[in-house]
Symmetry: C2
Subunit: 254 residues, 2 copies
Amino acid sequence: MTGRLAIVGLGPGAPELLTPMAAEALGAATDLVGYAPYLARVPERPGQRRHASDNREELARARQALALAEAGKAVALVSSGDPGIFAMASAIFEAIEMGKPEWRGIEVTVVPGVSAMLAAAARAGAPLGHDFCVLSLSDNLKPWEIVLQRLEAAAGADLVIVLYNPASKARPWQLGEAFRAIARHRAGTTPVIFAHAVSQPDERIEIATLAESETCRADMRTLVIVGSSATRLLPRGAGAPFVYTPRHAEMVPS
Amino acid sequence: MTGRLAIVGLGPGAPELLTPMAAEALGAATDLVGYAPYLARVPERPGQRRHASDNREELARARQALALAEAGKAVALVSSGDPGIFAMASAIFEAIEMGKPEWRGIEVTVVPGVSAMLAAAARAGAPLGHDFCVLSLSDNLKPWEIVLQRLEAAAGADLVIVLYNPASKARPWQLGEAFRAIARHRAGTTPVIFAHAVSQPDERIEIATLAESETCRADMRTLVIVGSSATRLLPRGAGAPFVYTPRHAEMVPS
């Protein structure tokens, strides 16, 4: 008998941001599959098997989850944040499309989660309060030329820009080049948010300006949000100011 | 004594998508403020006061919530989905900036939620699996010229496009014009998702092509997602096919 596969968003890290729907999907699984640090967030349950993998092997992990479901297991494949945003859901559908015909018969559900960008925005204020775009800076799966073209289009249209995968040891220079591309369209005073490990014990939210943004502040667990021309700072009692984008927009000279 | 204000995301509608953090913020409030249909989702609690308002009066609602907090109440201002995405969080920061100096002393927190776009994407498959942008089609707070400029930029850069506020009784023609703007850059076969009332009892997910998309399918409770050139359909056993965007991207002729 064919099993089933739930692709489950764990949210950004804090247990209070895991939805009841995700908790139920995790509880109903016979087998959990995922990147080891994400699996470690799920409470142990007797009789439930865990299959931890490396972060880079997305398609291999997808195939492992599908093979387990094909063998009759109730599989939960875990993703941090939301599984549909630069995460495992697309990898599963790619693996099904390229894979065994039997995999098309597996019952697949996607359980959404609070994505890193929503959690980061909430901690900073409301930077995503108006039109925005969400780009991955990784050039592992697309040419850097496309990344630049998309950055230019988004900056030229005065969108707030959310950058996933801003930097890693293997990709040290991309974020600096991205900031320079955006700066051709946007003032040096534009607020930039560096949100590291949101909702986790080592959370760190830093607010900078585009002119002073340094690439060294970002790593694989950082999300970067660059404001539009309308994004503003609002001082608050203690700590960093709120960053928010008003609900209205006006034409800016390009 | 000054009170406090939590801006709380209820998620798209289903109680299973309300986070424990949001439930706790709702439970800790002396006063709930919000659009009446959203307040109706929150279970009644003795001793807790409710202040329902009309949907259009965002700034008035924000000021009401701030005045209650200033008077010492523990206020929860509720938003559907995530409060930071075209919702109440920006309205609160605008109201603080324009309002009484005392309001700057109010402790404000934003509690994120599963946004409509994440829930809609999960029900459809993984359309947001790669670079995308999120635009409001409402021209109440910005000139239509800006909307068109942003649509053209997003379509030209081959981003998946999420359209909030696609249509209402007062804005009947905007979605059709948006489709025509996107169609100047994208094939008529491009998948388009109409997600109505996601996770609610009257949920309806429809998949169309850009060429056959009709504006009459959308209303104020609909979210529209237009695929990129890479967005694909994957047949599934029963019902509509999955719609997903692969993790990789290639250059397309513009």
